[in-house]
Structures are given as structure tokens and as C-alpha cells.
Amino acid sequence: MNILEVKHLTKEFGGLTATSDINMTIKKNSITAVIGPNGAGKTTFFNMITAVYHPTSGDILLNGKSLVGLKPHQVSQFGITRTFQNIRLFENMTVLENVLVGMHQNLKSHWIGTLLQLPHIRKIEENARTTAYDILNYVGLENYVNENAGNLAYGAQRRLEIGRAIAAKPKVLLLDEPAAGMNPKETERLTNLIHDMRTKLDVTIILIEHDMNLVMKISDSIYVLDHGELIASGKPNEIRNNKKVIEAYLGKGAVSNG
């Protein structure tokens, strides 16, 4: 079953085409990788799905419903959350609070109830903290609960972003270069986490990543972008041997010479 469909997605900035006519179908509960050289339009693609940018033309369908024209927070409420290439945590809030913000849209604790100290609101907040702790436990940050998010080490920040994103209980999770800047051990851990999330959380994962080992290991299917255009798609071993892909990465002539 397809959970996400992207049709003829195009984005232009002024006269510059960032992505042009991208089509994708993403199966439910799959792991999909979007790869391509720098400046290929991968992050722009994510930004359009999460409504940070509005596409110039084309459509994005989540379970058959169009997301185009929604506000970013509405997209999140529809069930798509993400992490960011250049980490965007709430740096002056604690690690726990970051996850609680992730849970924002699912919490029914209105502030007027908080002011009146209604018992069920207090219960909701208490349960939320427990759940947030569970999530931190899950991403391996249970020892940093009260730390300011800005003080975490780089790899831990990446994991906190994932924790925050899954706290929103997404149907589709977008990871923008989750392994960037990680050492092999951390990447290994991340790989396991992504696998585990797919089975445990029943979530569909799309990731942008440059680490080809990681991509080949975990993806069910791969889409390759170059200069804003979709040049190839398929299973990992199909992509591995695709001439166009090798050209895009290594430059024209690389195939015939090699």
C-alpha cells in the first residue's frame, strides 16, 4: 500500500529550478533513501513535503490527501515529521522539554486547564513526562534528561532530533542526513535505531544520506536526484550498477574510462 505519493513536484526560486517534475511512490512501512550529489535538490524536496516551501507545481499526497497549501504545523499534525540537516534543536530548553515539544500536537493539556490546576490536566502532563522519558531511553539519551539541548555532543543532538520527531507519533518520518558527522560506531547505532523504529513504531522512513554503506544496508528503495531531476530509482543493487547514477556522482566519462 502506498502511503505517500509525489506527483510532478517542481520548485523554482526566481528563475532557478531547484527540483523539476519529481515523481515518487512510497510504500507504507518502507525505508526509502533519497540520494544525489550536493545541490541536487534533496533538502528542497523535504522542505516541500513539510511545507517549509510551497511547490511551484505538482502535488504531494499522504494517504491520498493532498498536502499542498498546508502550513508546516498542519503537515506535522497530518503525520509527517522530520529532522534537519543543520540540526535545529531548541537549544535553550532541556532534553526532556525538547521531546515534550515534539509531543505538543498530541497533548490535550490546554493552558487554561493548567492555570485552574485541573487534576486530569496535571495527569496528562505527568504521563507526558513519563512517555518523553521512555522516548529518551529509546534513543539512548536517558542520562541527559535535564541537560540543555545545546550542550549535547553532536551525535547526541542528532539522536535527540530523532527522538523529538518520533514523539509526534508520525506516520512518515523524514531524516535529513542523520549520519552526517557521526563516527562509524555512532552510525552503526543509528542504523539499528532506524531499523528498529520501522518495526516497533510502525513508521515509514524517508532519508537523505551521503553514507552509501548505510543507504545500501537499510533502504528498501532508493531515489537518485541530480540537478533537481530524478535520474534513477529502484532497489539498492539496481542503483549500485546504474550508469546514470555513477555519472552523476563521478562525472561524465567515469563509466567509459573505468
Partner: protein, 330 residues
């Protein structure tokens, strides 16, 4: 009603143009600093005010020495405006060194830089008030009259639907000097090495510094030029309007900022245009609001008018009339 508005039009144009060029030059100070640092330099209006007071001080000194009577007025004026411009230029460089550069080094949030600029603005206002009050006993200073020969533009006889318009010779002075400043600046920014460096830093500070441009020095030069222009305009303001006080910079600064936004912030020619346009609009409002609204709103609403323009532009066309839209990088 329409006939009345048309009758006053020549006078509105003259007064609006005078005010407009003043806005234009002050707006350039805002737009240059914003273009490079993305900082609203709240103190800039007060640099303009300080320029007016420095001009007044120099003028009084020259008068005390008897130069005012001995030298031709235009020479006195040139001495005054040059000294005021250099002094305020250095003041601007000093402000940048003391208040903004340390924050840039620390990579502090923009909010903090805004707050220091408000602080600087307070300090300047009060220091000037203090000095003026200490020397003259009153913080409102009336400059010795210069260039106050009155001209009447006899339009009525040729074009009977217009009233006659009057202006002082200082109007011509303001107009000529600001036009010279604007052209000189335009040439500087577009034709010289420093101007090119300035544009490069405005575009991308990091890349510019990789290209061996000394970013800090470019920023200093920017502050010097912007502040010197502002200070010189202060002198023009003093000569045109006669009285000055330490608080003239505040409202005028906001309006000049409005002009900068109107023309597209960061865009120097846009700021010039925005200033003149705002001056004309404001004078038009001041002389006609009462007629248009049948007395419900008078000239006292002209400031409201300017603020509403600011808010409308920021909401509907935040990039200004001549700016390009910016997309935040995610």
C-alpha cells in the same frame, strides 16, 4: 475640496522634497548597516541629531570668533558640515567598535544587538542634552539664521489653479547638498574598490572574508560613511528648520527607517527613493488630511500615517518596492 488640494500642491512639493531628501540620506545610513550586518541600528537617528548639534557648536564657535560676519556664508557652511560629518563618522565607527563588534565576535542573538543599539541611542540623547544644557541652560538650541532669504515662486499668475509657493534659500542648499551626497555615494559604492568590497560583504560575509577582504574594516568604513552622511544631514536640518533638540533623532530615525524599508532594505537607491516618497506623502498628509477628512483628523496624524505605511509595506511587500524577496535557508 480637490481645488483646494491642487492649490496647495506646489508648496507641498517643496516642503515634501525638503523633508524627503533629509529622510533619504538618513535612510541610507540604516540601509547600509542593515545590508551588511542585518541590524537595525537604532542609534542612527541619534547620530543624525548629534551631527546637528556638532554643527551648531561649530557654528557658534565660528560666530564667537567673528568668522560668520567675515567669511562668505557658503564657506562657513562648508566648514561646519565637513567638521560635523567627520565627527559623526568617527562617532559611528566608535559605536560599532564598542557596541556591535564584541557581540558579533560572540555570535550573540540579533535581539541583543538591537538592545545595545537602543542603549546607545539613550546615551547619545542624554549626553547631548547634558552638554547643551550645561552650555546654554536649555536643551533646545536655536541656530543662528543662515540662508534665510525668502523666495516666492510666482505660479499663480501663470497657472491660476495653483497658489504661490515660498521657500528659503536653505531649501536650495539642502537640495543641492543632498543630491551631491547621493551621487557621490552612488559612485563610491558602484565604482570604487571599497564600494565593491562593501557590496561583497553585504552579499556574503563569509565568502568575502575568504576572498581576503578585511570584513571588519569594511564594516567600519560602512559605519563611517553612513554616520557621516547622517551627521551632515543633521547640519542641513539645523539650517533648514532652525531649532534642534536632543530628541529630534528618534522620530526622524524611525521615519528614515520606514523610508529604507519602503525602498527595500539594503538597497541604497531604494532608500533614496523611499525617503523622497515618504517626505512627499507626509507633507501631503499634513496639509490635506484635515481637508480630506473634513476636520476629523488634522496634521497631528501625519506620524500615524507614516507608521501605517511602514506596517503595510512590511506586511504586504516586506522586500520593499525595489528589493528582492529573501528565502530563509533551511
Amino acid at each position: 475640496m480637490l481645488a483646494h488640494i491642487i492649490q496647495n500642491l506646489p508648496q507641498v512639493l517643496i516642503d515634501g522634497l525638503t523633508l524627503g531628501v533629509v529622510y533619504a540620506v538618513v535612510a541610507i545610513g540604516y540601509t547600509m548597516v542593515y545590508g551588511i550586518l542585518e541590524l537595525i541600528n537604532f542609534a542612527h537617528g541619534d547620530v543624525f541629531m548629534t551631527g546637528a548639534f556638532i554643527g551648531a557648536i561649530v557654528l557658534f564657535l565660528l560666530m564667537g570668533m567673528g568668522f560668520l560676519a567675515a567669511l562668505p556664508a557658503i564657506l562657513v557652511f562648508i566648514i561646519v558640515i565637513v567638521i560635523a560629518a567627520i565627527a559623526t563618522g568617527l562617532l559611528g565607527v566608535g559605536i560599532e567598535r564598542v557596541a556591535y563588534r564584541p557581540l558579533r565576535k560572540k555570535n550573540a542573538p540579533k535581539l541583543i544587538a538591537l538592545i545595545t543599539s537602543i542603549g546607545i541611542s539613550f546615551v547619545l540623547e542624554d549626553l547631548v542634552r547634558f552638554i547643551a544644557e550645561l552650555k546654554t541652560g536649555n536643551y533646545i538650541v536655536t541656530a543662528p539664521p543662515m540662508f534665510n532669504h525668502k523666495f516666492t515662486l510666482n505660479l499663480h499668475s501663470a497657472l491660476p489653479f495653483f497658489n504661490n509657493a515660498t521657500f528659503q534659500s536653505s531649501f536650495l542648499l539642502v537640495l543641492i547638498v543632498t543630491i551631491i551626497m547621493l551621487i557621490a555615494l552612488d559612485l563610491f559604492v558602484n565604482k570604487t574598490k571599497w564600494g565593491m568590497a562593501m557590496r561583497a560583504v553585504a552579499q556574503d560575509r563569509d565568502t568575502a572574508s575568504l576572498m581576503t577582504i578585511n570584513v571588519n574594516r569594511v564594516i567600519s568604513v560602512t559605519f563611517f560613511i553612513g554616520s557621516a552622511l547622517g551627521g551632515a544631514t543633521g547640519v542641513l536640518f539645523m539650517i533648514q528648520y532652525g531649532t534642534i533638540d536632543p530628541y529630534i533623532g528618534f522620530i526622524l530615525g524611525i521615519k528614515a527607517f520606514t523610508a529604507a524599508v519602503l525602498g527595500g532594505i539594503g538597497n541604497i537607491r531604494g532608500a533614496m527613493f523611499g525617503g523622497v516618497m515618504l517626505g512627499l506623502l507626509e507633507m501631503f498628509a499634513a496639509s490635506n488630511l484635515s481637508i480630506i477628512t473634513h476636520g476629523a483628523m488634522g496634521a497631528e496624524y501625519k506620524d500615524v500615517f507614516a507608521f501605517i505605511i511602514l506596517i503595510l509595506v512590511l506586511i504586504f511587500k516586506p522586500e520593499g518596492l525595489f528589493g528582492k524577496a529573501v528565502v530563509e535557508k533551511v
